[in-house]
Symmetry: C2
């Protein structure tokens, strides 16, 4: 077995999965149906519980036949103080912590018998997460849709993290299909996380117009900005930006978000209408650079099953 195959095998064993594919916990887009479909297809689905609203999570978990087959993702820097505990009540297989220091929460996750999946965007963060007991480190590059750290992409980041930590690495960002898995595993990863590619599926929680917009968008047409944080709140810490499809709003304000302050009430009032009318020229649709590879809205199973199964041992 090559090193590459051994890495993939080990990820499969650690997570108990049959394909090296995770569903990124896209906040309020990855609900119970999507997470369950990804796990059912052999990967590992995560519900995107965002800041940890227990009502949303409880409702979405009713669509998950077996809670021990899915994970739950939380946004560490802004989650409710009880968010990890509220998530663990559902007895998920794993908790995925993104954006902030996971270390204070890992003991509680392990005590509940769940795995700790920690997302990072820098080598130093990966080392800290591994030292704190992370079972899997998700290395998110600047290619990724939604929030993330700007400035480091997977090509340099994955091998550097692979040389620095000994836990299985999952690569996230710009990957929509099996070529990305092969490349990521050559760089030292053991699997991949899919966000945008699973957003454009039947099971994702958003209006049809948003999914069709993903199909119509090419990879040159996404942009990182803080525009929608200003519009929707909260304002994330400085190191984070959000990658979305470019819109009238990002074309106008990206790079000078501070100038939005003078007219923010007006922009927000208009934005409520933009969302209600599913105005895709203005509404946020988070998307990574891999969006160019998406050409249809399909069941999540067909996205996951395009990736090769992990060979079973012996």
């Amino acid at each position: 077995m090559s090193d590459r195959e051994a890495r993939i095998q080990r990820l499969g064993e650690v997570l108990g999965i049959h394909r090296p594919v995770l569903c990124a916990p896209m906040a309020r887009i990855a609900g119970g149906r999507l997470a369950a479909a990804v796990s059912s297809a052999g990967g590992l689905g995560f519900l995107g519980a965002g800041y940890g609203d227990p009502g949303w999570l409880g409702e979405e978990m009713t669509h998950v036949p077996d809670s021990s087959a899915v994970g739950i993702g939380l946004i560490t820097w802004h989650m409710a103080p009880t968010a990890v505990r509220d998530a663990l009540v559902h007895q998920p297989k794993a908790i995925w912590l993104s954006f902030g220091d996971p270390a204070p929460h890992i003991p509680e996750i392990h005590e509940a018998g769940a795995l700790a999946v920690c997302q990072v965007g820098r080598v130093a963060e990966a080392v800290a997460a591994a030292d704190a007991g992370a079972d899997v480190v998700v290395v998110q590059g600047s290619e990724a849709g939604g929030h993330g750290r700007a400035g480091r992409a997977l090509f340099g980041l994955v091998p550097e993290v692979a040389d620095a930590v000994d836990v299985p690495i999952v690569a996230a960002g710009g990957i929509s299909e099996p070529r990305g898995l092969r490349a990521a595993t050559e760089l030292g990863a053991a699997g991949v996380a899919l966000g945008t590619a699973l957003y454009a599926t039947d099971e994702a929680l958003d209006v049809e117009e948003a999914k069709r917009h993903l199909v119509a968008t090419d990879g040159d047409s996404t942009v990182q900005s803080r525009v929608y944080d200003h519009v929707r709140g909260p304002l994330w810490p400085d190191e984070y930006v959000g990658r979305s499809v470019a819109t009238e709003l990002t074309n106008t304000w990206a790079g000078r978000e501070d100038s939005m302050a003078a007219d923010l009430d007006g922009i927000r009032d208009r934005y409520v209408e933009d969302v209600a009318q599913a105005n895709m020229e203005r509404r946020v649709v988070w998307a990574g650079e891999g969006v160019g590879a998406i050409d249809a809205i399909v069941p999540a199973s067909s996205v996951v099953e395009a990736f090769p199964a992990i060979p079973s041992i012996g």
Copy 2:
């Protein structure tokens, strides 16, 4: 032969090389000795002639034993009107055009019997270059050191370009060693371009302090900005930024380069001293995200020879 092997083979045939490795034409850093060493090791070396100063190029070409074994790189948007002609006088194997529309120059290059290598940072640019007759398209991701387009990294960009054009693709950005070649060729590339990794070699044209600084820098410590364009001139078009090792200057001014105007004379006077004193806390050292993999200053041949040779046919 797999598709991947066939792609690498074709690049070898098109460029007449034995390893799928190009030396990026780092302006005034990739001189004749570096270019010749890369070609001698089986790759394809390029001199970084920048805006096309014929005096610099003539001097550097005296260090190239066989001009038909190397290429010459130019910065399209700001090169001298006679730069392509001045470069072709040396009868190089190829001209590498970066940053700007290569189309007007390709016929002249071909008429001189040279190959046209066109660097792009967007899918649309790749399609335009291929349509204009480019022999090889270099896809530069935002991981790359020096100037480049911000916002698209290799993971999403390479497969999208590979699906859109039929010319051999070389991936550039964040790649320092063979893992990057394997990953890039899984995504649809046929080879790689190395910049930073060849900067940290005996043959590169810069002071020893700069090369040692590359060895000491990790991949988390580079930043894209326009700071050094303001300090050194010229101001590049809006779509381009430059990735360098982070310094006191980028820490102070990145993201608010326009504010430099008020004190620009003072900053420039100080910068002349910074360069004279090889003050690496302030002087620009262009570097890509792959800088973390560099751990010694070595001969260029040892960087290139770490990459596998292209299997010879039959």
